[in-house]
Subunit: 441 residues, 2 copies
Amino acid sequence: MDPARSPLLTDLYQLTMIDSYLQRGMRGPASFELFSRKLPPGRGFYIASGIEAVVDWLTTMRFSEAELAWIRECGHFRAGFAEELAQLRFTGHVEAVPDGTILFPQEPILRVTAPLPEAQLIESRVMNLVHLHSLLTSKAARAVLAADGRRLVDFGMRRAHGAEAAMAAARSTWIAGYAGTATCLAGALYEIPTVGTMAHSYVLAFDREIDAFRAFATAHPENVVLLIDTYDTAEGAGKVVELAHEGYPVHGVRIDSGDLGAEARRVRRILDEGGLGQVRILVSGDLDEYAVARLRADGAPVDGFGLGTRMDTAADQPHLDMAYKLQEYGGVARRKRSVGKVHWPGRKQVRRRFIDGMAAGDTLCLADEEPAGDPLLTEMMDGGRRTRAAESTAVIRERVAAGLATLPKACRALEAEPDIYPVEVSSRLRDCAAATDRQRH
Amino acid sequence: MDPARSPLLTDLYQLTMIDSYLQRGMRGPASFELFSRKLPPGRGFYIASGIEAVVDWLTTMRFSEAELAWIRECGHFRAGFAEELAQLRFTGHVEAVPDGTILFPQEPILRVTAPLPEAQLIESRVMNLVHLHSLLTSKAARAVLAADGRRLVDFGMRRAHGAEAAMAAARSTWIAGYAGTATCLAGALYEIPTVGTMAHSYVLAFDREIDAFRAFATAHPENVVLLIDTYDTAEGAGKVVELAHEGYPVHGVRIDSGDLGAEARRVRRILDEGGLGQVRILVSGDLDEYAVARLRADGAPVDGFGLGTRMDTAADQPHLDMAYKLQEYGGVARRKRSVGKVHWPGRKQVRRRFIDGMAAGDTLCLADEEPAGDPLLTEMMDGGRRTRAAESTAVIRERVAAGLATLPKACRALEAEPDIYPVEVSSRLRDCAAATDRQRH
């Protein structure tokens, strides 16, 4: 029972509801859409991601014997339910935006149309995957914008929330525009450049700091980035100059503590005076997009940023609003009216208009409407099979870069005004919503 | 290459450093300790967890052929390094506190003593696992304290950061004292009670709300908890009364939107007037320990809380300070002096003293000292093999409950004073630190 693959990675109520649907023969096609109702404060956009992971999961999802044994023994279900689940495969139709698409509130990320029990079963994991990837990709894109061309690398694996989150962080930060990740497995599985320097423990394992520097430069002469703050940062920088004068290669230094802007200035001066003008300065330690923006605004001589914990846990906002809602069942559009949680009913599409190459506004409309603009949702699966080829992270990375470049400046700001990007709702969709609300329940 | 198992789920620099250690024959025993330097603001304690997961991983960790192929091809390493890694197993000694132990800053969670390359390799994943579990267990324990005996259940799977985080959340909340989780797979793998109600989509799949209620009560008569806020909460409560009067079983209702305290009062009145005094009220929606405390303080008639996103992402503080630091190598105690990041050097133990059954203070000391109190770290592995039997989640849950019961009230407060719990540092440890700092580097 691999958590990343198991259909039991779901909420009990999904199975309880499916049990009831199957008992009542409610197997008609249902359409669910996944979307975000609102952005966190100050955010002018978000980036949908994780759809590739969803499609990958849906194509292979099935209950194993061990999982069915739990269904039989857990005490929640009637006899025979496990046998019905044993037959269950995802046979539905999926339309979605491709990973790396910039979106705004109320716009569907993904639409599943499938027999009601299948569409219901997958809710929890679909949300879990798309939420995580979208959260991390959106956050990382903000740092990329704040860095304004400076090099960012992902150092966050150790404090990401588990293995899957660490892998998602490496992938998300790369597609958002980072230069690479320290996470080796992401290099191996996602074709992401892997990067790294040295740890304090390496310095501590030698009796003298300069011996550690010499050993590192000898072992890895092609990429000598030395961590210089283990004992005293200025002294560390002095030893780097000494090392270079001894003829060792030195490409960069990393500073991981103290006032990073002030330390970078001090170190830059020491390196420059030592004739090491070409040696790059990398800083790390509790950095996020705000810290990057501040260091950039202060003109700190920083060539690259190692970003970790605060980005990979999305520390200031570790969850996005996201909902997977029944939009249509039995050919009838549906929506709930719970306070503060209203959404647009029906099967929807988003069309984006461009003026002079810049995104000028979206229209949220019914799927069969064709207002001006490019449709964002496209078919990913039909009959439970993938109909759109999987994309490499390189292709997705280009999509994000292109999307950010066409995004109006006001949306790209670190502190954006609420709902700054124009999203219209088509009059047919408004009519559909009004008709839905007139139904008696 | 399963991320949860792969030794490539590590930072590149670990491999770079190991490569250098192996080239220089630096295979002597090194001791690393994992600890937290400081608590988040307002926290009076934290709970260490995830050690079982670490031990489990270490006993099976090895490089697969596919992983070695990446090592050969990634371009970072000399020829022959992959062959050395192919032989690598964890052969070390591990002492740690058992999962569910209450700890304070600077106290070691876990100590690894192993040949330097092994001890270095595992850093990233050891941290990743213990950080995640400790983060979620500590947060959940706060909600348990705030609920003061009321029933809490984990509904957070969908917005936890991936599959491993969702499973860790279910386990962490259960050992912290929740009554159960909605996550089925955690029920199957960790023997945690699974719980659940119904979703809005279930109500929406029927033309009339009361038809949905009738269908649910028919399908699952043993646990009828009805979600009543899809259209109008008061009307929903009225339908529950109607349903009960028709003879259907009703055990509880769930409210998931609006002002939960006010809605609970209104619903309680409707249910009571309908003769349903025994029907429980469960609330959910963006709840955390603070919201639970407020609802309890306001005397809202809430019998149970479904907690999700804010707990399972540890939303107010999604990362803990945590470090894995070289303490001793070549028989010499070590520590760095980076600004704000000093730690106590050497191989350490913690002793906890109790007075009248309450924890009265800890002593942080060298491992070979024996001041008064019970030692908290115990042997988990020796020679790379598990020497302490794995514990069930039920046993760990009892440890947490016992620990919370012996914790001084001031530490248990939702807004605790900084460093409220007394942790002494032994004079021998202070001497060791002073001697370490006198070394020249």
